[in-house]
Symmetry: C2
Subunit: 514 residues, 2 copies
């Protein structure tokens, strides 16, 4: 509070009006409250005695939390990672293992021209320009460097070429050899161990402890927590001498909270996340007065199949075959109905609009880049047919219509122009004429929550008075603003790593409070 007051005094009224956007801004400021304390939202009494102390306390052990911990440690701070589930890794360990970067060696190798500016434009276009521009800029500018950090520092192994995901102007997504985020999380966990960092599971964030002076000084947790038993475990207080970093992820699995934001997303809609993707970290930050940003924008994955639970493995077929080397059709007509490489919202909305699952298909040439195809066939999420006719029968598609659609696609591919939907083609795509054919049913699932708490480009959490909350950083899906209305595939992994690393470095630079 003293510092805030000093800052205000240092500015003339004119400067202050300018800095905060004028008259309306001043009227919009909370604060004041000198008569009746506490001034700061969500302040708690500080414990007389802390059970433990660290320079930096990190909540969550996905990409963002792990990146923050590694950087904080490398900057000379002690740090602890607290994870509420039994296993570390959050959603990151089950994510698709793709991360976007502009201007990378793999792009150079293939002669793909790309830049942070192009990535910025793609991200804003998909985000319907609701994105916070300064966050997107930071994210794009650091994307290639961050991928190289995962290669050089973490030793992550990637496939030999970049993938072209929907909504990206060019192929720019690195893809782990294991086709999963585990390919990044595991090396991070090794590094955490190697650096002597502590990672504790079954630690539930009960409260962020913010002092009357407005600084977050520690956390109250429940140690030995057993998800989802709210009252399990025992209470402990951990002092954060420098800062707390909130990296608690999204709330895709939090049915009450998500239905407040989007009442369509009842328990009947499936979700690709791990069950721990609930809102309590976000809610706790809101209780402290963090500014909510675009929380009602919840992403549905267009590549999900109703024939398996959760994310499953079908999406790899959809992404690496049907959307890129095949087609997606409405079984009622046998026709394509959307650019298979449009952004996720366009595709998910298009499938919802036809009112029944779409069929994604590819031929033997088209499935060459699909890992784990045998497993998909075994599970029945992808099916195999000797001919298009048999495929058509299985899904009750008009066979003549389907064959016409494939013929049209082959003709567009030859011309290099998709005359119907403007979809870009892969350089190595071949005409769909090599049996057998493979197909998947597609129906959207909740995948990502774009909104969250406001941060600035230093990863500081911003409160309702437009000021950083001292001692509190945020990174990853718990924050809002990078993706705007619609997130592009593989942008989240990069976002988590970029802002997790920033949060860790900045937190390490804070002056300890005691």
């Amino acid at each position: 509070m003293n510092e805030e007051k000093k800052q205000k005094k240092g500015l003339s009224r004119r400067d202050f009006m300018k800095a905060t956007g004028g008259a309306a801004a001043v009227a919009g400021l909370a604060g004041g409250g000198l008569l009746l304390g506490p001034k700061t939202a969500g302040a708690s009494e500080m414990p007389k005695k802390w059970d433990e102390e660290f320079d930096v306390v990190i909540i969550g052990s996905g990409f963002a939390g792990l990146a923050a911990a590694i950087e904080a440690k490398n900057a000379g701070s002690s740090a602890v990672i607290l994870e509420k589930m039994r296993v570390p890794g959050g959603n990151s360990i089950i994510n698709g293992g793709l991360l976007a970067g502009a201007g990378t060696p793999l792009q150079d190798k293939e002669g793909i021209k790309d830049s942070p500016e192009i990535m910025y434009e793609d991200t804003l276009k998909a985000g319907l320009h609701l994105n916070h521009p300064e966050l997107v800029r930071t994210f794009c500018e650091k994307s290639a460097e961050t991928i190289m950090w995962t290669v050089e520092y973490l030793g992550v192994e990637y496939q030999g070429r970049v993938t072209h995901l929907g909504g990206h102007a060019v192929p720019r997504s690195y893809f782990t050899t294991v086709s999963s985020g585990a390919g990044i999380v595991r090396p991070m966990l090794d590094k955490v161990k190697g650096l002597g960092l502590e990672l504790r599971t079954q630690m539930y964030l009960d409260k962020l402890l913010k002092d009357e002076d407005g600084r977050v000084k520690g956390v109250k947790i429940r140690s030995g927590y057993v998800f989802p038993k709210r009252e399990s475990g025992s209470e402990k207080v951990i002092k954060a001498k420098k800062a707390v970093i909130l990296a608690t992820g999204g709330f895709g699995y939090d049915i009450p909270f998500r239905t407040i934001q989007d009442p369509r997303l009842t328990a009947d809609v499936d979700c690709t996340n791990q069950p721990g993707a609930t809102a309590e970290g976000l809610i706790e930050a809101l209780r402290l007065g963090a500014t909510p940003v675009q929380i009602s924008w919840i992403q549905l994955g267009p590549w999900a199949s109703p024939d398996e639970k959760g994310l499953g493995i079908g999406p790899f077929f959809a992404i690496s075959a049907a959307f890129t080397y095949g087609v997606v059709v409405d079984p009622a007509t046998g026709q394509r109905f959307v650019n298979e490489l449009a952004d996720r919202k366009i595709r998910a909305d298009a499938i919802l609009k036809i009112g029944h699952p779409a069929i994604g298909l590819a031929d033997e040439e088209g499935v060459k880049r699909v890992g784990r195809l045998d497993q998909m066939l075994e599970r029945g999420v992808v099916k195999k047919f000797p001919t298009l006719d048999e495929l058509a029968v299985a899904y009750k598609i008009d066979a003549a219509g389907l064959k016409e659609t494939v013929a049209k696609y082959n003709a567009y591919l030859k011309k290099g122009v998709d005359e119907e939907f403007g979809r870009p083609f892969q350089k190595d795509a071949k005409a769909m004429e090599h049996p057998p054919f493979y197909a998947i049913r597609l129906w959207p699932k909740i995948h990502h929550t774009m909104g969250g708490i406001q941060i600035n480009k230093e990863a500081q959490v911003i409160d309702l008075t437009h000021q950083p909350i001292k001692g509190l950083y945020g990174a990853g899906e718990v924050t809002g603003g990078v993706h705007g209305a619609v997130r592009l595939g593989s942008n989240a992994t990069t976002e988590c790593l970029v802002f997790g690393r920033i949060a860790g470095k900045k937190a390490a630079q804070e002056q300890p409070w005691g």
Copy 2:
């Protein structure tokens, strides 16, 4: 807190899981916090002495606040209305004076079949089904009754027929004879006076005073406040023995807050609201832990003209003539490009997409229902032309193209089917062939903020633990959920009156705390 604890004890674990939506819900609950107080977000010390006391303290003097005050008083409570600006009425007094209702006498008179169910479907369709269904249901079911209350109890005077606004399946909007919300606000102000209610202006809400027990017990205000001087006036504390009702309106004029939610909406985008439409009431509720709902959905008005400031008067021409009895064209092509009666978002997005102002036009027959036409012509926001050729020259439209568009419109009207955009026609519409012609330039302006704090159908404000905040009610634009993603024209007036009245009645039923 005691009551919440008792409630929890009264439920078996199974019931509790069921009531809160299962495992994810429990994990998502905030609360606990027994070790380190205060439990409740944003609690303050209570003043030793209050300057004044009322049963019900109402913040804001637009439709919602005035309706709440009237009902609280009629239910036997003392009440005060606190307004921060110099004049009462907020945005309501400058609004368009249209309010939607299903199943009204004016509809019956014209044989228009309507029902709360049809209105519900229209509202959800426009809202992209993000609306909170139970709020929409309450709103629609009470719409006709509320209009009749304005007629019978307030003595509001309406035009003799209902207006058909975009997105509504049928004509259902009552329109004040003065073509302004003032036609409702003024009778409400008279009633407020007649009931002996106090309405005080220049009273700034500095703080909602929430006690440690979680109940809002009063407000700290700045009396003699001069907008927008944050530190003007002197501090006072007013006790609310029963409840505080937040009816502070939207934040369309709050540049810093609105750009966090939608970064496109910088100071360069004009706004139809009065300058007091800032976010501090909303922010103060969020500080107390109210749940944010869909705050990033901000509505642009498609009927706004760049040739006048604020809402202006041009929208009446757009709504009562160009959209209903005329056409809207892209001057670059002379063609129509959108259903002129689609919802606001579709129309505003369509105009933004063409990248320059659209031209709305109507002929002499089409402007018959436009009030204040002379004033529009005088101001130059609407222009008059003897022929379509001259109109085309003035706006640099290809004259042949424009005349073809009008001929097509006339043909569709004759058939009764708009073959291009599916726009419904007015029953009394005539072919556009009666000179002179009138035209307006159209470019969207910020108009309404759909999101806000969560309320239930009793108008109680809901906190982040999914529980009502005791002693706090909300109504009108400061709340979210009724309109979902996109608000239909004239729904807001009804919403404010419906939930304002509910809030006033329910607040009056609260047990006084002291």
